[in-house]
Point group: C2
């Protein structure tokens, strides 16, 4: 055993601390979901000698939280399929797993993680620590929201519990919350043939897209038999003769056999706060570009942390699986001695609802305005491939650009799932990453064959429509519509 | 009528010429396909007063040459559907069309286009001229290649002729040439139930992709009953008892009722050469970034011209529909008085063959080597979305990067048509446009939902595999395979 001075530079007030370490670096990761496993894998990839141990609360490391709706729908027949990697994969990668283990406290001065009672050992030592404790579903403190038939959905445990209830013959479900999990679950439950009512407090489902596109999504939900009540909140839930009765604001009630609360998540930060890690304004853990918490030797990643936004140039709470993987990879690299920096995100996301794909990246008009941009939003409706080839569907594309500078700020696309919506938004995300001007999109050499696109990709045509609207000084409602 | 001095700057040896012009600028465009129409529309968009006239050799302006195989297959029921825009659309956009008219000569000193005999007028005057004369199919000077049952495929006239022959009950077709039109026509003709043999002189079909991927394409063709003979040329075609007999090199023969020669195209440059426009090394018209020919007042665009390659930083002959639209738009803008510059292309292309999409952008190992790069090519096989959601198919992704600098140089993807192959190559094309390093691809915020992608998009996983191969100094055959 040797003693090595490890100096962590560049963090304000970070003391020079002395780690006891063997020749093998000991990296402990609290949390076994996407961020934690990504960190662990990256650390081992870069330092094959490192001892990397994951502490996880349950028995399901690296399960795809995003995949749960598809197991509940029946599309994914076996829940075991939801594992990004099996236990064997993780062991083969050299990771040590400590499942079903809760962490009681952290002691960065001693480099120790205290485990909850009943654990094999009372504590384990570390040289470097990654906090990847994720998020928990919000459960509003309202009457009846704790009833047993009121479910949340986050962990595999939540999924098993809901699955059991559905298998027991539930016929009707009230979904509270019209975010992406809410609409995915509406899809999933209709696929099982259940009666589904979705209640959303906001003016539309999917608050991540503009109202002009929200209507298209609402139509899709209605066409598949989902009853949507927007502008409506649930203020209490009561037991009523074997059913649940939800009392609505501004009035009315919904009766269903089961309720699913999917109104967002909140970061789990108590362990990190316990050692003095700072929270950002959003309430999630504050980290720097290297995913350092400010506590020496402690990194954080995933849904417990804030996410740097490339365009806003500050951090927000945008918990997404794709981001958790990226942040985890950076944290793991740096815990293993690297100096990687997280480039931030644009909040890029896509969701499939029945036959629609709904994708967005970057800013929308309202937040662009709030940030001091002079946004112009222009919507186009353009076929996803040449209309003469069978199976063309309209893409509804909204381009947000800065009227003054011409900079591309954001994009939203809604179209048929066959229309490459997700990977078209990726071109916009890549363009925004590089601070492209809307006009310059026409210079990109994008691929074309009639069954899959057009000589100008629809995002380029939409960019050209935006430029015309800009030059003719049209307002954001003067949507151009192009079909070429 | 006023007289205005027009000074064309920046072209070597371009004289200051004096155009007669009315208050309306008179722009004449020779050629009515993609480049010509794009130029005309852009000119009118920027100068609504301009008199824009298109001279076209046939009666089918702005028809989608790329769409012809889909009409021949029956997927596009009506050939009229192949028009990007109808005659009414073009008139409504303010364009004047002169169909079925051949140009005999050009006189840039007088600003005159001489029309062929039989035209309504012997000549028409112009202030600005755009040459968009396109390309013609190569027809090797070999015995029997001029027989009536030996077809080529480029114009609507060619398409009608082939369609009539097929409707007359042809049962077997020999396709000579395994480029993208060859394989698309193999698909089209099999869809009609015909017997199809494809003969390709090179070692594989689709010379735009590496041999490791060519095998996948060959399997797809074979699985759909296309007989492929690679490494085989046709040296002569003979009439044989109502059939055609093709004599093969290195031996053997193929008997079929009809032959289709699709062995590439050559630029139509004679008009431009007649006024002293220069050709590039490729034999196509040389143009500068503004699409100027070097002859004052004369621009050129589309398949008659060379294309600037962003990575090679020089011009090649890469005739593609998507490029023709871009070049035409630039030429039209500048003919109307603008100063737009063509950013060049990366040769990005995609072709659909049965259920496969095959896409490529940028450089391949061999041409990267020839350009002085130190390329490393790494292939990965990655599911196009999370395997637990139904319908996942493998993407075969090849990443070409510079081993020394890490710069992304090119990419190739082969996968199922449902796998967003075309728009995934677009992200790579956008990345190359911005001179990204392979490693930096992992910083892009790309969209994820289990039915459509993975938390790391497959192109990012492929980039990570490339980085690992680079750091372990693996050769290009040490292909990594990832399934996460």
């Amino acid at each position: 055993v040797t003693t090595i001075d490890v100096t962590l530079q560049g963090i304000d007030k970070a003391p020079i601390i002395r780690h006891r370490r063997s020749t093998r670096l000991r990296i402990v990761i609290v949390g076994g979901s996407d961020a934690g496993v990504a960190a662990a894998l990256r650390a081992r990839e870069l330092d094959a000698e490192a001892e990397v141990e994951l502490i996880l609360a349950d028995d399901f490391p690296n399960f795809s939280v995003c995949g749960i709706p598809f197991w509940l729908s029946g599309e994914t027949p076996d829940w075991r399929g939801l594992a990004h990697r099996t236990l064997e994969d993780l062991s083969a990668a050299g990771l040590k797993l400590r499942p079903n283990t809760l962490v009681k406290g952290l002691d960065p001065a001693r480099g120790e993680v205290t485990l909850s009672e009943g654990s094999q050992e009372p504590s384990i030592g570390y040289d470097r620590l990654v906090i990847a404790t994720g998020a928990v579903p919000k459960r509003p403190q309202l009457p009846g929201f704790e009833l047993p038939d009121v479910h949340v959905l986050r962990t595999m445990g939540d999924a098993f519990s809901l699955h059991r209830a559905l298998d027991a013959g539930v016929g009707s479900v009230l979904i509270v919350g019209g975010g992406y999990i809410g609409v995915e679950m509406a899809d999933a439950l209709r696929r099982r043939g259940l009666e589904v009512v979705l209640v959303e407090r906001g003016e539309q489902v999917l608050s991540t897209i503009d109202s002009e596109l929200g209507a298209t999504v609402a139509d899709e939900l209605a066409a598949h038999g989902v009853r949507c009540l927007t502008g409506t909140g649930v203020v209490a839930i009561e037991r009523d003769d074997g059913y649940l009765k939800a009392l609505l604001d501004p009035g009315g009630e919904i009766v269903a056999e089961l309720a699913l609360l999917v109104v967002g998540v909140q970061p789990q930060t108590s362990l990190a706060r316990g050692i003095g890690a700072e929270l950002g304004e959003s309430g999630a853990l504050k980290v720097d570009a290297q995913m350092r918490t400010g506590v020496a030797g402690v990194w954080a990643a995933g849904d417990a942390t804030e996410t740097y936004h490339q365009l806003l140039q500050r951090s927000l709470y945008i918990p997404l699986g794709s981001t958790a993987h990226k942040q985890g990879r950076i944290a793991g690299e740096n815990a293993a001695g690297g100096h990687a920096e997280f480039a931030g995100t644009l909040g890029t996301q896509v969701v499939k609802v029945f036959d629609l794909a709904i994708a967005a990246t970057g800013l929308r008009e309202a937040n662009a305005l709030a940030e001091g941009f002079t946004p112009l939003t222009v919507q186009s409706v353009i076929e996803d491939h040449k209309a003469y080839y069978p199976g063309a569907h309209p893409l509804h594309i909204r381009i947000v650009g800065d009227r003054r500078t011409g900079q591309l700020l954001g994009g939203q696309i809604v179209g048929h799932i066959s229309g490459q919506v997700a990977k078209r938004i990726d071109t916009l995300a890549t363009a925004i990453y590089h601070r492209m001007r809307v006009e310059e999109l026409s210079s990109l050499d994008l691929s074309y064959t009639p069954p899959l696109s057009a000589p100008w990709d629809p995002i380029q045509t939409a960019a050209q429509v935006w430029e015309r609207a800009r030059s003719t000084n049209c307002g954001s409602r003067a949507a151009g519509v192009e079909g070429r």
